[in-house]
Point group: C2
């Protein structure tokens, strides 16, 4: 067949560029056949710098996604892109205009306004530190303070899931489930509505654990990666989840974003 | 003055809703005077469920942001919103159309395509586990394997910054800098281009540490929160950063997102 088609994406922001990058990545994911090149330009707050980047974009025949919030830079970008026939998307513009119209408020025109260091921000920092402190059952006292307690056998992605939820301001503690190890008594004091038990498919855990052993320079055939052993661990954990009466999620075909969204929805967290 | 104006935002997605939420939050941040109510509806993949949500949106006179990627649901949403006069933003639509036109590819119409469990995804999981493992100088061997080594005295947000960068696929290790403690020899073997030294303002650290002591039920006046002590720690760390020849960032007025963006840009990481 013909060679892969190419698209150059320019992500321009007056702050860190998270919003524009998100749009860019979601678009890229819809076109696995297209070869994208992504160039990110954060902290663009000066007209000349912006024009220089836009000239490069014109040379590259790029698609521009920008989230500039000051009227001055917005107008510069719009005028230049129109003149040079650059495809330019400003995903915030229509919704900001609509809110202005409805509320007779004017928007701040303040770059990075969502990154202000307010109480909510410091709560998030604290939630992340909490999740690290109470990762991997390090201290069972964390269960009583947590918004969410995550349980699961090895390789059910407890740690990344905890960090992802912490970044959404939830205080998360997690505990690895091992048949031989003692289940901390604090767990029985936690409201089951705050507990999530993770499971996974035997075959998938087997593959991941074998892979891990190879990475460690060991033979893939260990008790850790043994199918019978994994089945035993899963049976033990499922039994525990049933006794606790908690939400159970099979993570085998889910990303941490998907699992996190299910948790936040099902536990009916704010 | 008059009471706060209210706007109801509906975030509808066929997957976790990250893209639409990002747009919603960036908009809200531009209007501190407006009282927003945000309702999120992830995993909407069925026509009837969608129509039910849109009817509620009409009742609430809401602004709808959706990122539905299947043509069927897109058309349902568009037709209903037009008929009912609901303001409806689909931020992905224009850029997806543009890519389709340029490449003669069709978009996947696959909800949550960016959450596929590919190698990059598993690398990210690994990066997060790496950051937790090598948080707080727990094991100096991590420095040699890391993409980024973060240094800083207590309360310069090393841990949340590490987790944020890990979520962008970077392998990060961090080390608390304490004048009395031994600097691991591995640090001198790391390419200084991979090292970031964090500093903060004396007054701000003093406030944060006093606050922390109060939270711990202690008097705010401790050696930990003493101005002289903090100055000593900062002088020691600045001296170390100079010897290492590393990037230095003062985090006092920056969010972790901003600090992370500076690091990724300055260290010229892919």
């Amino acid at each position: 067949m013909s060679e892969k088609q190419k698209v150059h994406l320019y992500i321009i922001s007056d702050s860190v560029g998270g919003t524009a990058s998100t749009i860019g990545r979601a678009t890229m994911a819809q076109f696995p056949e297209v070869e994208f090149q992504l160039s990110a330009y954060p902290f663009v707050r000066d007209k000349n710098k912006l024009l220089k980047i836009l000239k490069h974009a014109a040379n590259d025949d790029a698609i521009v996604v920008h989230t500039l919030v000051t009227s001055e830079l917005q107008e510069v970008a719009q005028a230049f892109c129109q003149e040079q026939n650059i495809f330019c998307l400003d995903p915030l513009h229509p919704i900001i205009c609509e809110v202005e119209q409805r509320t007779s408020s004017e928007h701040l025109q303040k770059p990075g306004a969502q990154h202000q260091l307010d109480q909510k921000y410091f709560d998030r920092i604290e939630a992340i530190e909490f999740a690290v402190k109470y990762d991997d059952g390090l201290d069972p006292r964390g269960f009583l303070e947590a918004d969410i307690v995550i349980l699961g056998i090895s390789r059910t992605s407890k740690t990344p899931l905890s960090m992802f939820l912490a970044n959404q301001n939830y205080k998360v503690a997690n505990l690895p489930i091992i048949p031989e190890s003692h289940i901390p008594e604090q767990l029985w004091q936690v409201d089951p509505k705050k507990i999530v038990g993770l499971t996974n498919d035997v075959q998938l855990i087997n593959e991941i654990r074998r892979e891990r052993m190879i990475q460690y320079g060991m033979s893939p055939e260990t008790p850790y990666s043994n199918i019978g052993r994994i089945e035993e661990e899963l049976a033990f954990s499922n039994d525990l989840y049933e006794k606790l009466g908690c939400l159970v999620i099979n993570v085998s075909k889910k990303s941490i974003e998907e699992t996190a969204a299910i948790i936040v929805n099902t536990l009916n967290l704010k």
